[in-house]
C-alpha cells in the first residue's frame, strides 16, 4: 500500500495505517509527517474530557453529527486506558458512535493510553496530524475518563469541553486544582437527573472565584442521549473559538502546544540515547548500583549520566 499517495487521495486505509505506524514508533511515519508538515494546522481541535461515565462519547457523537450537517469532514480520536499489567485494552468508545461508522465524512480511531498518564496516548499528537493532512475540518479528541489531574488535553486542543454529571461530589471538588481549571466550555450532561442545577451552580461559583474578566467559560445543561442542548453547546464552542482568535490566544495556545511537543520529543530522544548507551556498556546499571550502595546520590548520578552521554554520544 502506498501510504503517501493514499493519504492525500483520501484513502481511509492509508490514514489508518499511518496512525498505526505512529503508535508503534515506526520511523517511516515520522518521515511522512515531516514531508506534509506545511499542510498541517487547518483543522480545529476540540478536546472532550470529564469523569468516567459522564457521557463523553455520546456528547462527541452528537456534536460530530451536528458538524456533519454543515458538510464538514470530522475525525474522532477516542482514548481509553491500557492495562498496566497486560498491555492490552478494551477500547469501547465506538459503541456510542455506531451510526457515524458508515458516514463517509467521519473517521473514528480508538487508541489505548499505552502507559501515558495524562489522559491521552502519546501518539495522539501524531494521529491529529494525520487527520489534519487527511483533510479533516474538525478533530474531536476524547480523553480517557479523568479523575482530577489528567490535563494533557489542554496541551493539544484549541477548545476543551468539560463534560460533567450531577452527583459526583460536593462543591469542594469544584474548587480543587486540576481538571476543573482547564475547561473552556462546561457541559452538565444527564441534566434530567436530580442535582443537575446544583452541579451547574457549583461550577458557576467556581468560575466566579476565578475572577476571569476577558472570557468566562459558559456552563450548559444538556441531555446528550436525547440530543437536548447540543446546538447551544456547539454555539458555546464556536464562541470560544472566536474569542481565542480575536484575543490572540489561539496562536498563543498553539505555540504552547508546539513547545510542549518539541520538549517531549527532545526528552524522548534523550531517553532513547540513554537506552542505546546502555546497550554499549552498562553505564546506567553501574550508576544504579553506586546509588544503591550509597557511594553517590541520584543527583550526582544524573550528572554523571549526562557526562557519559556527551562523551559517548549515545550512538
Amino acid at each position: 500500500m502506498d501510504i503517501r499517495a493514499g493519504l492525500l487521495a483520501g484513502n481511509k486505509r492509508a490514514a489508518a495505517r499511518l496512525i498505526t505506524m505512529i503508535e508503534n514508533g515506526d520511523p517511516e511515519a515520522i518521515e511522512i509527517i515531516k514531508e506534509n508538515y506545511a499542510k498541517i494546522g487547518k483543522a480545529r481541535i476540540i478536546g472532550i474530557t470529564g469523569p468516567p461515565g459522564a457521557g463523553k462519547s455520546t456528547v462527541t457523537d452528537k456534536l460530530a453529527k451536528l458538524v456533519r450537517k454543515q458538510g464538514k469532514k470530522v475525525a474522532i480520536i477516542a482514548v481509553d486506558p491500557t492495562s498496566p499489567f497486560s498491555g492490552g485494552a478494551i477500547l469501547g468508545d465506538r459503541i456510542r458512535m455506531s451510526d457515524l461508522n458508515t458516514d463517509e465524512g467521519v473517521f473514528i480511531r480508538s487508541m489505548g493510553t499505552r502507559g501515558a498518564l495524562g489522559g491521552l496516548s502519546k501518539s495522539v499528537h501524531g494521529a491529529i496530524k494525520v487527520m489534519d493532512i487527511f483533510g479533516c475540518d474538525y478533530i474531536f479528541v476524547e480523553t480517557v475518563g479523568v479523575g482530577q489531574s489528567e490535563i494533557d488535553i489542554v496541551k493539544v486542543a484549541d477548545t476543551v469541553l468539560m463534560v460533567m454529571v450531577p452527583g459526583l461530589g460536593d462543591d469542594i471538588q469544584a474548587i480543587k486544582a486540576g481538571i476543573m481549571e482547564i475547561g473552556d466550555v462546561f457541559a452538565v450532561n444527564k441534566s434530567d437527573r436530580e442535582g443537575a442545577e446544583k452541579t451547574a451552580t457549583e461550577i458557576e461559583i467556581m468560575l466566579d472565584l476565578n475572577g476571569m474578566t476577558e472570557y468566562r467559560p459558559p456552563v450548559k445543561n444538556i441531555i446528550a442521549k436525547d440530543n437536548k442542548g447540543i446546538e447551544e453547546l456547539w454555539d458555546a464552542i464556536e464562541k470560544h473559538y472566536e474569542y481565542m482568535v480575536s484575543s490572540g490566544n489561539f496562536s498563543k495556545r498553539r505555540q504552547n502546544a508546539i513547545e510542549t511537543e518539541i520538549l517531549e520529543i527532545f526528552k524522548q530522544n534523550l531517553l532513547d540515547k540513554v537506552e542505546k548507551l546502555e546497550k554499549k556498556g552498562e553505564y546506567l546499571s553501574d550508576l544504579i548500583k553506586k546509588v544503591f550502595n550509597k557511594q553517590i546520590d541520584p543527583y550526582t548520578a544524573a550528572i554523571e549520566l549526562s557526562n557519559i552521554l556527551n562523551k559517548e554520544g549515545g550512538e
Binding site: K12, I19, T20, F85, G88, I90, R94, S98, N101
Partner: protein, 132 residues
Amino acid sequence: MNRPIRVLVAKPGLDGHDRGAKVVARAMRDAGMEVIYTGLRQTPEQIAEAAIQEDVDCVAMSILSGAHNHLFPKVVNLLKEKGGEDILVVGGGVIPEEDIPGLKEAGVAEIFTPGTPTRETIDFITNNIKRD
C-alpha cells in the same frame, strides 16, 4: 517491532446476547491485545468500515441468531472491497458443525463454537494474523 495486536470484536445481526463476546474481549485484553469493542447489532458495513478505520489485524465476530451464513461472508467481502483483504476474520457463537466448511470456504479463517477455551481463540489469532 513490539506492538499490540488490534482486534475488532463485533456482534453482527439482531441477537442481543454479548456475554460471550465480552468474555472473549476481556481474555484478549488480558493477553495484551487492543480490543475495539463495537457493541450490539452492527451491520456488516459498520463492522468492515470500523475495521478499516481502526486498522485492526483481526475481526472477531460473535453471532447467536443463526444468520452467520449470511453475515460472516458479507463482512469478508466488504473488507476485500475496502482493501482490507489482509485482515484475519474469525467467528464464534452457536454455529452448526455442517455450516463451518462453507464459512471457511467463504473466507472465515476459523469458527469457535461454545466451549472453546478463550486461550485457543487467542492463540489462533496470534499465530494467523498476516502482519508482523
